[in-house]
Every structure is written in structure tokens, then in C-alpha cells.
Amino acid sequence: MLTAGLDIGSVSTNAVLLANGKLIASVILPSGYNHQETAERAWQMILQQGQASAAQLKTIVATGYGRYNVPFASKQISEISCIAKGARHWFPDVRTVIDVGGQDSKVIKLDSEGYVADFVMNDKCAAGTGRFIEVMAQALQLEVSALEQEDLLAASGAQISSICTVFAESEVISLIGQGVARPKIVKGLHQAVASRVGSLAKRLKLEEPLLVTGGVAKNQGVVVALAAELGLKLLVPEEPQLVGALGAALIAAQE
């Protein structure tokens, strides 16, 4: 049986195709302005990759902020449920998931049976999210993908306020003005994200195994800083951005 899941996030659109629960195709695209068009493109790409046709699929689940912009989806499910499902599939014992996405970060606790037991999401603020990192990378004239390497070059991070993205950007600019080395600023930014996400996570009683997902989990600089902040071991899946879409496809399989 073929099922599909599409996760239309604020930054990226992720889609997976499963054949009897096994991943046979996946794609990650920038969401852009037109979510419907991006969803359609992602959909065609996974069908092509998986050598399947739309007619073979009965259930398609959409998740993420843009989940209501997928006209061909048969069901919409929130990313909390989908991330929990996907995380549990790849890491069957997982008890906590920290997802750091483009515009929000969320912490999900799972019970022993894999049900969502509790969750928290960030406030109306982009600090501690992928957007924060993007804005800072731009100020530092770095590609987001280069941040991880830059972080490794510094022994310690610069002190940066983690309260507000806009003010933190001014702080970064003033650090640049003071001649602080770029790696030190980058490490400081990663620590700022970790501190913000960490304080959100500490609202819940955290239990291991603990998985980090979302686009930001690709940045080891943030993951290392977060592990230090929480004093816990963090696991990262091979494709942390696909966990939500995977969960959506698994839920589709149950329908």
C-alpha cells in the first residue's frame, strides 16, 4: 500500500512516499510564497521518484502551517501529532522530541505507548527558531549551511541576548563593529538558540531518549549547545526535516 505525507512548513516543504511503511521517495523544497504550487511540485516529485501514480494513493495527509493549502490531501493533522508519530517510527523508544523549525520550536513528550502526553510551543517570537538563525547568517554574510563549520573554529561563544531576534541582530552588528571574530559570534548565536529552546523544553519533565528534529537539527553547532544546555544526550535522525512528513504518511497508512 502506498501512502504519502506532506509537511508544508514556513521555510521548507517536505514530502515522503511510503510503500507498506517503507520510505521509497522523499523531497525537501523551499516553501516559498505559493504553498499550493510548492505542495503540488513536491507531490509530483515524490510520485516520479517512487515511480507511482496519484491513482494508487487513497490517503494523503498534510501537516505543517500550510496544511490547509494542499487541495489534494485527504486529511490535515497538526505537526505535533505527525512529528511524534514519525519520531516513534525511526526511534521506537523515544520519549521526548525537540523540533526546531523555521518559525517555531516545539517540545513533545510521548508516553510509554507512543501517544503525545504533553507539548509546548514557543511564544509569539522567532528567537530560538530557524528564522533567527537565517537572519543572523545573513547579517554575518554566511550561508546557513556554513554556520556549523564556523562554530567549530571558536573555543567559546560571544554573549548574545536570546530575547528578541530584532535586537539580537543589532547586537550581532555591534559585535561585528567591535571586531569580534565571526566564529565566536556564530557560537554565541547557537548558544542563544539553545538557551531559548532549552528554557522552553524545561517546562516539561524531560525524559530520554530525546530526539532533535526540524531543519535546525542539521546544524551540529546548535545540537551540541542544546545538549550542554539541557545536560542530556540528544539523538538526531539522518533526515531531521522529514520526520513530520514521515509521521503524516504513517498516519495516512492507518486511515
Binding site: 497538526s78 509569539k124 517546562r203
Partner: protein, 408 residues
């Protein structure tokens, strides 16, 4: 199954009862009746007994929310230096006061409140409301009397009661001096009995949400509570709630429910998000979810002992859930949640109502652990739309309902 709100047959009666209140408030001066501004939890029975008209400016605040005027009014107050995180009821009221002054001689600014002859705040609920009254008292150069009710501690119960009773005596003297009207204790007893009757009827109304499925929801109760706030102590409240209870009994007999196919029952804290009442009622209704109780709507449950009129007023008005200790406030929430058999709860971190938002994260954790039910926090102001982000709020609520639904 799309949610369809069923209107109350007594809707017109409610509308008229509330219109009468506003008309009397606006006509009071013309009839030689002094107007006293009061906060919601205040011994108004004394005022009705002395033919002083109690006006609740908080109602204006809430109405500014439902009529989507809060932002415009707040901006006027903010231009004068008030913080945008100050109580949005107060910001609306101050915005109206200053806006009227700025508009003087020009077209009507709209959304009137009667000018106060006396200002009677109590700090049982909070301090910011009292500050709003203080500023207004200075602006109109009118006398103010603050009823001080510190946090309740069981160990100091008797001394606190004595302290509050002393203030009731002082309040009576203040009212007599300011208005030249004498308090007649027999008249006060009549008013107390009417108030008790209205409270009893109001609590009968709320009990219809205990039914499974509920006959009314919190969203209904927020609108139906108007007369218990304004007309408490007067026959108007008794008449209206008598009719409403009859209607709800009919609803129960004919199996009319608030939310068709109710699957999930929730508790809500605290004040609703007034500009978004319909949005929330439809959001939950469409997801077969009833909000069945809240400390907010359950606030008016006075049982006065008319044999000791002043003592009974002191005992009743010295405490409200907001001036209880953390653990006692948690107990009150838990009691309601148990009685109404809820599957979870939603707490609004309402920035402009800090006493109610205090330690909500910790309350959530304690209650979830005690009752084994999940809770969620959302962040939005009770009136100011600038603090409402629909996307993230809806996303959180959908996730929360899915979480509860998955375990059912």
C-alpha cells in the same frame, strides 16, 4: 458535522435587561441619582440599597473588545504614555476619557460611559483597575474609596474579616456623607435577599453544563452573565434568570445540546478573548468540543445572611479566587474540573490581566499531574487584537485536541 449555535429564546429578554441597565446608567444624573463606578467584585448591594447607581466600567472594557474598539482606544492611552501591556479594560476606559476630551466640540466620540460621582474600586481582583479609577477620580475631581482586601490566608481569617468589616462601616459613612443618603438596613436586607436569589439562579444556569452533552457552554455563559454582574441585588436579575432556568429545563427535556456530538469537555481560564468569542465557539463546536466551566463564570455564588447584613457583606466580598494563595487557587480549579468531568484544560496567559496569568505554567503542571489530564497554554489579550496571532493559536489548539482525541 458543522457546528450550529442555537439561540436562546430568552435572547431578547437578555438584550432588553442589559439595555435597561445602560439606559438607567446614562439617565441616572438627569434623575438626580448619583453614579458610582465599581469594580466587578464590590459590595454593590449597599449601593442599590441607598439608590446609588453602580456602574461597571469593566463592562465597557469587555464591550470595547467585542465591538473591536480596543485598539483604537488603547492607542489614545498609549500616546499619553500608558504601557501597551497595561490592563486592556483600563486602556479602553482611559482611551475613551482622553478621546472624548480630544474630540470635545467635534463629532461624538461614541461608546459612552456615565461620568462618575464616586469611584469605588476594590483590589480583590487586582491593583491595575484601582489605578485606572484613581486616574479617573483625579481627572474628574471626584472622591474615591478603595476597599482593600489583601491576600487571604487561612491563619489570619478572623483578623482579615474584622479588617474588611471595618472598611464596610467606613464605606457606609463615606457614602452617606458624599451623597446625603442614609442607609436603611431593612432595605439592605431586601437587596441582599434579591442578590442571593439571583446568585442561586445563576448557579443553576451554570449547572446545565454538567450534563453530558452540555446544554450550555462557557461561551454562552460569558454572554448570559451580564445581569449577575450588573443587576445583582435588583429584581431585574431574578426575573431574567428565572426565565433562563425555565428555558434550560425545556432544553434538557427536549434533548437540545450546546454542541452536537460532544466528544471532548474542557475547562477554560479565565476571561474570554472578547473580540474572538465567535471564532472560539465555532472552532471548538466544529471539533465536537464543549468548554464547560471556568472560574470566571463561576465567580458569582454569594449566599448572604440577611440577619447580619454588614458582616455577611464583609465575609462574601473579602475573598475572590484571585486573592487566594497559589495552592488554594489550584484547588478551586481542580474542584470545578472534577465536578464538570473535563478531559483537559486551556489557560490563557492574558498579558493584561496579570493576577490571573500568575504562575499559570506551574498551575498547569501541578493540575495535570494531580488529575492526569492534559492542559495547554495560549497567549492572547482579553481585548487587544494586537496580541492575538490566529495561526499559532489555532495550531496549538488543534494539536491539543488531537492529543486528547488520540487517547479517547
Amino acid at each position: 458535522m458543522a457546528f450550529k449555535k442555537i439561540d436562546f429564546k430568552t435572547k431578547g429578554f437578555l438584550k432588553k435587561t442589559m439595555e435597561d441597565y445602560n439606559t438607567q446608567a446614562m439617565n441616572a444624573h438627569a434623575q438626580g441619582i448619583p453614579v458610582a463606578w465599581v469594580t466587578a467584585v464590590f459590595p454593590v448591594e449597599l449601593l442599590y440599597a441607598m439608590d446609588i447607581f453602580p456602574y461597571y466600567p469593566e463592562n465597557f472594557g469587555a464591550a470595547s473588545g467585542t465591538h473591536r474598539r480596543t485598539e483604537e482606544l488603547s492607542l489614545i492611552a498609549e500616546r499619553r504614555g500608558y504601557s501597551n501591556q497595561y490592563c486592556s479594560y483600563a486602556k479602553a476606559g482611559l482611551g475613551l476619557m482622553y478621546g472624548n476630551a480630544e474630540q470635545a466640540g467635534k463629532e461624538d466620540f461614541g461608546g459612552e460611559m456615565p461620568q462618575p460621582d464616586l469611584l469605588l474600586p476594590s483590589n480583590i481582583q487586582c491593583t491595575p483597575l484601582g489605578k485606572w479609577f484613581e486616574i479617573t477620580a483625579k481627572y474628574y475631581n471626584k472622591p474615591l474609596f478603595l476597599m482593600d482586601s489583601p491576600q487571604i490566608e487561612a491563619s489570619s481569617w478572623e483578623s482579615q474579616k474584622a479588617y474588611f468589616l471595618q472598611q464596610i462601616h467606613e464605606l457606609v459613612a463615606f457614602l452617606e456623607t458624599s451623597t446625603g443618603r442614609k442607609l436603611d438596613l431593612d432595605r439592605l436586607c431586601e437587596v441582599l435577599n434579591l442578590s442571593t436569589q439571583a446568585c442561586d439562579l445563576w448557579n443553576q444556569v451554570l449547572l446545565f453544563a454538567k450534563n453530558k452533552p452540555a446544554r450550555i457552554t462557557y461561551w454562552d455563559a460569558c454572554i448570559l452573565m451580564g445581569p449577575i454582574v450588573c443587576w445583582r441585588g435588583r429584581p431585574e436579575a431574578v426575573h431574567y434568570y428565572t426565565e433562563l432556568v425555565k428555558e434550560l429545563e425545556e432544553r434538557a427535556a427536549s434533548d437540545l445540546v450546546a454542541v452536537e456530538g460532544e466528544k471532548i469537555r474542557l475547562y477554560w481560564d479565565h476571561i474570554p478573548i472578547w473580540p474572538k468569542m465567535r471564532y472560539f465557539a465555532e472552532f471548538f463546536g466544529n471539533r465536537q468540543t464543549s468548554i464547560v466551566c471556568s472560574l470566571y463564570t463561576h465567580s458569582w455564588a454569594y449566599k448572604f445572611d440577611a440577619a447580619h447584613p454588614l458582616e455577611t457583606l464583609a465575609e462574601s466580598y473579602m475573598r475572590e479566587f484571585v486573592n487566594y494563595r497559589f495552592d488554594q487557587r489550584v484547588e478551586k480549579k481542580i474542584k470545578l474540573m472534577r465536578e464538570y468531568e473535563v478531559d483537559g484544560f486551556i489557560f490563557n496567559l492574558n498579558d493584561s490581566c496579570k493576577p490571573n496569568s500568575l504562575a499559570l505554567i506551574e498551575k498547569k503542571n501541578v493540575i495535570s499531574e494531580r488529575l492526569g489530564i492534559p492542559g495547554m497554554l495560549l497567549e492572547a489579550d482579553m481585548c487587544d487584537p494586537r496580541f492575538f496571532a490566529e495561526g499559532p493559536i489555532q495550531n496549538r489548539m488543534e494539536s491539543f485536541l488531537e492529543m486528547i482525541g488520540s487517547k479517547k
